[in-house]
């Protein structure tokens, strides 16, 4: 297992290296000279220009520039953003990254769960109305034109029904006079969320099979109590209403991203289930007199999960693209919108920086999938 993970880690480092190289040469290959463009940008004061020119080696030959670029990238120096001058690219990205991560991870987790749940259900009862309905609506959502679908969601839930805000990260009216910054509140929210997930896992881990037959009885109440305590604690704090505002802005993008991405997992799970359902161990499980639900979940679906997790990489990358589009539509100030704005305003340092980070995101997706796979398949775990 260690060797497997080490090999994968090596491959990923190589991939990252290639992504950085690729962005560098793409930018070099574009019509017009990046070096001149960078150095002549009127947004920058003359002394900054001179300084940049030196630190990026813009007067040196291409291969030296490349080496400097590599060194800078891996030390986190992406230069200064034209558009957000004088903030360094890294600072802009550090602010935007968690916002995308939350959007993307929540939507992916929820859509994976829903997709897997529906997929196993429609495979188990083949040919039912549910199969037709789920396949058609799933494929339609999956291939729906994401921007149009996002705008439709905004129109229905924000304009017509008025339940949720139209877009963006927060409502300036609510935040006027607030003593804390949005990033401050948001990072507290992130910590709370992460702590809750860790807590839930620990509870599951400790109470799993406490020596009796049947499910452990305390798990659901404990996690439920924690889930209730969190909003109460936030409500009592003086920044609770600010967090609520951010939360309200998060709902629509997350729901939209979930809706467009669950179908991929669903259709894949269905196919994978149809194959595992023919396996002998599923027949054996049924012969043992296990309830159908146990046969389906513990045996058929549990094995069907393996190929689904393998291609989770594709779903995650699909979701990264999806979140870029969704952020554009909902004006959610994350990595995706940063990239779009940078592209529109020809803020090349920021374009390169966000591309590298989006590449990092997809590598992260690979890592998650690898670790999950190792956890799920004992044949790899014990090798």
């Amino acid at each position: 297992m260690t060797r497997y993970l080490a090999k994968r880690a090596g491959q990923m480092a190589l991939t990252l290296f290639l992504i950085v190289t690729l962005t560098f040469f793409l930018v070099q290959a574009q019509p017009g000279d990046y070096a001149t463009f960078y150095a002549l940008n009127p947004d920058l004061p003359a002394e900054v220009r001179a300084q940049l020119k030196e630190s990026f080696g813009l007067d040196k030959p291409l291969w030296q520039q490349y080496l400097v670029h590599m060194k800078n990238t891996f030390t986190g120096n992406f230069g200064v953003s034209f558009g957000h001058f004088p903030r360094p690219v890294m600072e802009v990205l550090a602010e935007r990254l968690p916002r995308t991560a939350v959007l993307f991870l929540t939507a992916t987790a929820v859509s994976f769960y829903i997709g897997f749940f529906l997929g196993k259900a429609i495979a188990w009862r083949r040919g039912g109305v549910l199969e037709y309905a789920a396949t058609i609506s799933g494929a339609t959502l999956f291939t729906a034109f994401t921007p149009a679908f996002g705008l439709m969601m905004i129109w229905v839930f924000a304009f017509k029904l008025g339940w949720l805000p139209v877009g963006k990260f927060l409502d300036p009216l609510i935040w006027r006079g607030a003593e804390v910054s949005a990033n401050h509140v948001f990072s507290y929210m992130l910590v709370t969320g992460a702590a809750f997930i860790v807590f839930a896992f620990l509870v599951l881990f400790f109470f799993r099979r406490s020596g009796r037959i049947g499910p452990a009885p305390l798990v659901a109440p404990i996690i439920g109590a924690a889930a209730l305590a969190i909003p109460v604690a936030w409500g009592l704090s003086d920044i609770g209403f600010l967090a609520l505002d951010i939360l309200r802005h998060m709902i629509l993008p997350i729901v939209t991203l979930t809706l467009i991405s669950f179908a991929g997992t669903m259709l894949l799970t269905r196919n994978s289930m149809l194959e595992t359902m023919r396996e002998d161990y599923v027949m054996a499980a049924r012969a043992k007199g296990l309830p159908e639900k146990v046969v389906r979940d513990r045996h058929a679906a549990r094995n069907a999960l393996l190929p689904v997790v393998t291609s989770l990489v594709y779903s995650l990358i699909f979701a990264i693209d999806g979140s870029v589009i969704i952020e554009g539509v909902f004006s959610w100030p994350g990595m995706g919108m940063t990239l779009l704005d940078a592209v529109r305003s020809e803020d090349l340092p920021l374009v390169m920086g966000s591309m590298v980070f989006i590449g990092l995101f997809s590598l992260l997706a690979h890592v998650i999938v690898d670790v999950l796979y190792v956890y799920l398949d004992p044949r790899i775990r014990y090798q």
């Binding site: 491959q11 190589l14 991939t15 290639l18 992504i19 962005t23 793409l26 930018v27 290959a29 574009q30 019509p31 083949r126 040919g127 037709y132 396949t135 058609i136 494929a139 339609t140 999956f142 291939t143 729906a144 034109f145 994401t146 921007p147 149009a148 679908f149 705008l151 905004i154 129109w155 304009f159 017509k160 259709l267 196919n271 149809l274 194959e275 023919r278 990489v313 594709y314 990358i317 990264i320 693209d321 870029v324 589009i325 554009g328 995706g336 990239l339 779009l340 940078a342 592209v343 529109r344 020809e346 374009v351 591309m355 989006i358 590449g359 995101f361 997809s362 590598l363 690979h366």
Partner: protein
């Protein structure tokens, strides 16, 4: 089991239906061989078709694609016969007969006009043609590359194989739309370049991996060995035996590529990053920049026809691909027989 389990890797179409016996006749006439191949191909095509039509969704989707194809053909005909270019040209036309734009559907403009006074139906139909050109070009490039790469990598193995597979790993690790967004910022992309880039990314990417693993399973079949014993050279075996057997799966992945290409074009056009004359994405982009999208149902004709066309054509190609998957992959079929 009462009936024999079908081979997991049986491939329809091409001469693969039954392992061909190349040793039966040592000097068959070329035309005779071709005839026999054609007959076999026809038979397995019929068998595949019978399975395909069992999937109602697949047939419905195929009908949708045909409908869109008819729409694409109808535009030049309409322009040549009943539509006056000054009014109905999708890009430069202007509907003088209306005082306000965008104007709702009426008998002269069945889908109304856009904010710039152009006929929406004409835009929709002319875009259909571009979408087909884009989708099919991208799919042909993808499948052309992927089939060659897959067959070559599987046949030769070794360094060639690992080189292509590492490249594919790299490409699938990249989020495609994001990469296209970056590329469109750096270069001016038109329809042809877009199709080419999508095709190259797909062809060296995931599709190559899938076709390679299929080619690997073909490579170990007895008839390949027989062909080698009979004195077939490398290129002969790859061209005559491996590639034809990859075609059904290639066809399947062409469908998925078309979906991806149309989708990517629409997203990039919507974001205003492409250099195209007219497309469904641009129609929505025009409506969006004019602020008409959030008018909701009031200006429905600006968004619904184009949005629905993208969705329907994309999902039609996708669902045809899935129905083909059931033909190509016997394990997904309902009955074992």
């Amino acid at each position: 089991m009462i009936t024999p389990q079908p081979d997991h890797h049986v491939v329809i179409g091409g001469p693969s239906g039954s392992p061909e016996p190349p040793l039966v006749d040592l000097h068959p006439g070329r035309s005779q061989m071709a005839m026999a191949r054609a007959r076999l191909a026809l038979r397995s095509f019929r068998g595949g078709w019978a399975i395909f039509v069992e999937s109602r969704i697949g047939v419905l989707s195929l009908a949708t694609i045909v409908l869109f194809a008819l729409m694409a053909i109808s535009h030049p005909i309409l322009m040549a016969t009943v539509w006056d270019a000054e009014v109905y040209d999708p890009v430069t036309g202007y509907a003088f007969d209306r005082l306000e734009h965008p104007s709702p559907p009426n008998w002269r403009h069945p889908l109304g006009t856009d904010p710039l006074g152009r006929d929406v139906l004409s835009q929709l139909l002319s875009s259909t043609r571009s979408e087909f050109i884009l989708g099919i070009t991208a799919a042909l490039v993808t499948v052309g590359i992927a089939t060659t790469v897959g067959a070559v990598a599987a046949y030769y193995g070794g360094l060639v194989d690992s080189l292509f597979m590492r490249l594919a790993d790299l490409i699938i690790a990249l989020p495609g739309i994001s990469l296209l967004i970056v590329l469109s910022a750096l270069f001016k992309l038109n329809l042809f370049y877009l199709a080419l880039i999508i095709g190259i990314l797909g062809g060296f990417g995931g599709t190559a991996i899938i076709l390679k693993s299929q080619a690997l399973s073909i490579r170990v079949k007895p008839y390949i060995e027989a062909a080698r014993v009979a004195g077939g050279g490398h290129s002969h075996i790859i061209l005559v035996h491996i590639i034809p057997n990859l075609l059904p799966l290639s066809l399947l992945y062409m469908m998925f590529t078309v979906t991806g290409a149309i989708f990517a074009e629409a997203v990039l056009s919507f974001l205003g990053l492409l250099d195209l004359r007219m497309s469904w994405g641009i129609m929505i982009h025009t409506a969006n920049t004019g602020g008409y999208l959030l008018g909701g149902t009031r200006y429905w004709w600006l968004i619904v026809p184009a949005g629905a066309s993208i969705t329907f054509l994309c999902s039609a190609f996708y669902l045809v691909g899935r129905a083909l998957d059931e033909v190509v992959n016997p394990r997904l079929r309902r009955h074992t027989a």
